[in-house]
Amino acid sequence: MSKITNEELLGSIKGKFEDGVTAISEPFGLLTLETSREKIIDLLTFLKTDAKLQFIYLTDLTGIHYPENEKPIGVIYHLHSLVNNVRIRIKVFMADDDVKIPTATVLWNGANWMERETYDFFGVEFEGHPDLRRILNVDDMTVFPMRREYPLEDPNRVDKRDYFFGR
């Protein structure tokens, strides 16, 4: 299957970014680690351009929100090394009042819409993004709907109260 193991992969990352990566785990064999937004572009560049690793494919970029954490808003990158057939997941968390992260469009053109989607739903500002506008929601929307505090339905609706259904 994959031509390099997660230990080798982690070893070469650690060799370059000694204490820059934290919270290392391997859920279902997919190496997952956390880094800071200061290091994220360096880390992505290293992974993409390293002659042995070659993570040239950005599979996915999305956000997540943990309201109770100190740094609640996260951005999650899934990279894929097509040569070695191995994936890696990288997370960056940011404080609520300073949701800014450098853009990955400098490395992959495909990050453009993925970052716009993440901005649209989580309010993450990607610094240096060429065209950071909302993409799926209307332009004059004021909230970031995928944040946890934003309810699924209009809380003022009266026809769907639980007591109508015996709950």
Partner: protein, 403 residues
Amino acid sequence: MRTHPVYTDNDPQTEYSTLNLGPTHPATHGVFQNVLTLDGERIVSGVSTIGYIHRAFEKIAEHRPFYQITPLTDRMNYCSSPINNMGWHMTVEKLLGIQMPKRVDYMRIIAMELARISDHIICNGVLGVDTGAFTGFLYMMKYREDIYEIYEEICGSRLTTNIGRIGGFERNFNPIAFEKTRKFLREFPKALKEFEALFNRNRIFIDRTRDVAAVSAEEALSYSWSGPLLRAAGVDYDVRAMEPYSSYEDFDFEVPVGSNGDVYNRFLVRNEEMWQSLRLIEQALNKIEKEPSDIFHADVPDYYLPPKEEVYNNMEALIYHFKIVMGEVPTPRTEVYHAVEGANGELGFYLVNDGGRTPYRLHFRRPSFINYQMYAPMSRGMLLSDAIINMSSLNVIAGELDA
């Protein structure tokens, strides 16, 4: 991507016109808009607007137990719903650590490959329509109908199938389903051959499609393209071969690859994929015969819905049914990414689970969304009529684009 440096946005000598291509233009085959600036028939620049049928699936999924998310996946790529359904089921099975019996895997492969054929029929047929050849589309539509009839035998519905369950299928394939699949395998190759005879060496079709919207492998990778589009550009990335799921490793099939990523290459790659899908279905049917014929789900009563007649007559089954439907079954606190080869490319499910009754976060990696973002940049300098067939060959499905 070819660039035509003659055309610039701020040339004072030229008068440009603006054209709204979409959101309901018949040639876009879906609800999305492109505001094009035209110089005569050449496109100077374009801006894509999407989100017209955004239904907030990811937000809804955070409020639904796992079973109730399957119908949401139906409505993403509605031309090949079974792949979406099973991709989701396999994600949950991976999370729960359920091992599928081989026969279920093979049954799934039959459904998924039929879905891939029906999706490619639409895409290639419509590409013919947009180049002026209606015959192929109408002729192939009959076989999509045949596939939908097989779905009906398997699960009872046609377009938004909600096929299968977490842990297998809701019921066994009946003899008519096998019979209809065999019949399809007998009849479809002849039609596909005729379809290819109609197009592959057709001078008009080749003139309209060859070298149109050619994309290099580097560009395709940089834009995170996947599926037939990436393969037409010459990269042999297929999830079925790279990270086999549902026992694809037991099968013998080839991954067709194009050379320069133009519309003609994409057409040929999709056609060849249909032949490969036929091979896979045939092999799956033969393999199923060697497996015990009464197995159609894994033995996981905690997660697999009990049969309805037992729910009505048996207390224990009723309890299980209730617990599963309400999402009361314990699930591990972890995260999982599972990808399947959808008809348009890598369809990924990123599921973060906190052990509650619903996913904490579910993200769909939707190939149409990611493939489509190159459309406006690659249209620069193209003729409007070429841009139309380029859009057809991208096979953008509005439901998957917007989710």
